[in-house]
Amino acid sequence: MPEGPIVDVHGIALRRPGALILRDVTLRVAPGEAVGLFGANGSGKSTLLRVLATLEKPSSGWGTVLGAAVGTGAAEMVRTRIALVAHEPALRENLTLEENLRLVAALSGRHDEDAAEALAAVGLAGARHRRAAVCSNGMRRRAEFARVALIGPDLLLLDEAHVGLDPAAGILVEEMVERTTSRGGAAVLVSHERERVREIISRSVTLSDGRLEETP
């Protein structure tokens, strides 16, 4: 189980040519917490998730993710404990859903059977031999959740995970977050639908023009 805060970053800024995407972002997420991250389009929510996932190096600021200092080589050591569900599904289009999950299983030291089980757990047992390219957006989302289940992350980052999901599948998001936080991990959920995630999150923050503020 993780010790200390899962996320503890201070004064994070991220510049891109001609734009300051994040400015002076400070965020602390404790084990067992699920934080809702809100904000208008273009406010920097997805970029902040990528920074927390150690996929983007901040231009300035300091802190730790899962105990590893952000912006340093140490962060690479904790990447395998992080799962990010982004807007675009991380699927190879011409592989079947099961093959996509088998790829994840093989690279994370798990078995092919685990991939099949993960797909069954998100209601995709019947579609496991279907190519990702011909699956609906909702099915592709579910396959992403199966990937998360397979990894069992300590830090779960969800970027508008509810988009394209029917109510039944929405429960999967709830279960995924619950599974992570109950093990002592944490989750950060980006969403535009406050009502839909209200029951899942323990507190919320809002990004506005690159700045982060606690939301009542």
Binding site: R50, A53, T54, L55, E56, K57, V70, G71, T72, G73, A75, E76, R79, T80, I82, A83, L84, A86, H87, E88, P89, A90, L91, R92, N94, L95, E99, R102, L103, V104, A106, L107, S108, G109, R131, R147, I151
Partner: protein, 219 residues
Amino acid sequence: MSLVHQIVVLFRFQLRDEVRTGEVAAVVIPFGAIALLVIPMAIGIETTLLARVGPGLFWAVVLLFGVVVTQRRTASTGQAHHDALTLLGVDPAARFAATALASGVLLLVFEVALGLVTIVLYDPLLTGWAWLGLVLPLVAAGLAMLGTIAGFVADGRGPLAPLLVAPLAIPILLGAAQATEGLVQGAGILRWILMLALVDVLLALAGVLTARPLEGPST
């Protein structure tokens, strides 16, 4: 998770993806064959001339269409998949090696297919055919690694990768053309084989060493 395991897994799935997509088999190979077919129509069907220029034209077509093989859609899979692999702890060097390996296998298939077309259309006067068993894989490996590095550098920026590969592939084209010319003349080709091998070793080193910095902005 060892580097070799990562390479084997990524190679296996990338090749499966390509076999299913069929871009190389259904598009690149037929177009390469058509290129070899239309040249005799342009320069005239003089069998002696065709036999003389056949090997050189074969390598020119392999180079130009080989770039397309290395930049096929299944060689890169978008930001989300790339991020997912990174978060699974996949070493950038493993990504390079697996992509280059898959491209190398596809290029070898491409070379053999076009080689057969060249034999049928041009009837080249080669001696020591067995040497091609070394030349073809060496050229395929070199082009594959060069194309993979260029793909990492271009990072989805449209036509930049082919523009990078074509001039940098000149040593490979030179070595391949001179080796086949040696086979036509019945001369020794060992030095050209060694040159191709040296280029391959240098490209392998360059690919492994630059894979991480070329991965993009990360911690």
